[in-house]
């Protein structure tokens, strides 16, 4: 065999094989796998069986952008000292550390954007880019995104659009490339960072009827979603360890009560949207809050110091 042909054959075939395996492993997306089975299945009964078994469950955590907006809408002040310093960026070398801190830096980036902290915003975008690049997420945050951010630094709508797009680029890449465990760790890192910041911003002298405290109580509603998200990747050593940490948080959340009346949807013609009317009664003592705050701080610090 001619040497050049031999080399080009193995090069092309090898490349095809790598990409075939790479794009074929969509472990986090059961429904996609099922669809591929349908494409190649020979008999209809097998197809119908595939359809029957196929079920996709999405566990949606509040995104870093939503967490930052919740903190701001509760009237909290900005405090840079609570963010994970960008100088930590070179500490993160493992997949786990980069994933958790991609989430954390995206949350800090969102928090900075909400409070129009322009220089911090660019610094955190660069830190998030470094994490995404380290995880091999192609084009999650391109240099053009950073340039566009700098050009529109005073336009909050464009900034939020860029933050939202870059976060979506990261989690869609991980989901569509068979890395659900890493995707879950990114979401967890962002959620914990936002939760940590909000607990640290509570003024204990103004605990009762504090809107930020209400937002913290609301996070109890997401704890099972978070655990289900992590359980989907059970068996991954890093995720197994994280499940243990989140269960400690759940133990504290279990001390908080939330009672909601049956919701009544009412269509509002003026806003052309539906209002879901209901009443809620919650109970969290300052002692439980302090325990929650301490637990989340321990978890968050284990992430940013890893």
């Amino acid at each position: 065999m001619d040497k050049n042909y031999k080399v080009s054959f193995f090069l092309v075939f090898g490349l095809a094989l790598i990409i075939s395996v790479f794009t074929g492993c969509k472990g986090g997306n059961k429904a996609t796998v099922e669809e591929e089975s349908v494409t190649f299945a020979q008999d209809e009964e097998a197809i119908l069986q595939d359809i029957k078994q196929a079920e996709k469950v999405f566990n949606a955590l509040p995104s870093p952008l939503e967490s930052a907006m919740l903190i701001k809408s509760a009237g909290a002040e900005f405090n840079e000292a609570l963010l994970n310093p960008v100088s930590n960026v070179n500490r993160y070398v493992t997949n786990r550390a980069m994933a958790l801190n991609l989430g954390a830096f995206t949350c800090d980036l969102s928090f900075s954007s909400m409070y129009e902290q322009t220089q911090l915003l660019i610094d955190y975008m660069n830190a998030a880019k470094q994490m995404a690049d380290g995880l091999g997420i192609l084009d999650a945050i391109a240099q053009e995104d950073i340039d566009r951010l700098e050009e529109n630094i005073n336009d909050s709508e464009v900034i939020m659009d860029i933050v939202s797009q870059t976060f979506m680029n990261s989690n869609s890449y991980l989901e569509e490339n068979g890395q659900p465990a890493t995707a879950a760790m990114v979401l967890l890192g962002g959620w914990i960072e936002g939760f940590y910041i909000s607990t640290q911003l509570v003024d204990m002298d103004n605990f009762d009827n504090n809107k930020l405290v209400s937002r913290i109580i609301d996070q109890k509603l997401s704890i099972d979603i978070l655990l289900n998200l992590l359980e989907d990747s059970k068996g991954n050593a890093a995720v197994d360890e994280l499940i243990g940490q989140i269960n400690e948080l759940k133990t504290v959340f279990d001390k908080i009560t939330i009672e909601t009346s049956t919701p009544r949807p009412v269509y509002d013609e003026s806003t052309q949207s539906t209002v879901i009317k209901s009443e809620v009664k919650t109970n969290m003592t300052p002692e439980v809050f302090l325990e929650l705050s301490k637990t989340v701080a321990l978890i968050r610090n284990s992430f940013v110091e890893s």
């Binding site: 794009t23 359809i51 509040p62 939503e66 870059t166 979506m168 609301d218 289900n228 919701p263 539906t274």
Partner: protein
């Protein structure tokens, strides 16, 4: 030599075929679903999968009081109508797009924060003897303060 060329061509087709599948739903979600959020800020989360007609997906999410939300659920044109139902933790139905001509969006606000469940179902074409249709379905959320 000819054989090598044929094998190389097959390998290239495998490569190109996979590359075209890669990111299939992401591109669809960005192009067709994101725009449905209108002036609501997309939260940045990504939920999309290839579904087959008759198949269901479920999504669990906490929605916060005093925030205005819009959910957009869009299926590829190869699929029949995509139905979605929103219910609370006690399975009380709050909304079904079946009652609204299969609208791809629903805008809402909650007086108290709640975890809601969204059931997405791809309806069926009435052709039992044909291969079931499949395509991407994307779910996106936008919010306003």
């Amino acid at each position: 030599m000819k054989r090598i060329r044929v094998i190389s061509l097959i390998a290239l087709l495998v490569l190109v075929g996979n590359v075209s599948v890669f990111g299939q739903c992401k591109a669809f979600a960005k192009k067709e679903c994101l725009t449905e959020l209108g002036n609501y800020t997309h939260d940045g989360n990504y939920h999309a999968a290839v579904l087959v007609e008759g198949e269901e997906a479920e999504l669990y999410k906490t929605f916060y009081s005093d925030m205005e939300y819009r959910v957009a659920i869009v299926g590829e044109s190869s699929l029949p109508a995509v139905e979605f139902t929103v219910m609370d933790a006690n399975k009380n139905i709050l909304y079904s797009n079946k009652d609204h001509d299969y609208s791809p969006t629903w805008s809402f606000r909650l007086e108290s924060s709640q975890q809601l469940k969204i059931i997405v179902k791809v309806s069926k074409f009435n052709a039992a003897d044909e291969m079931p249709a499949s395509g991407c379905v994307a779910i996106m959320f936008g919010f306003k303060m």
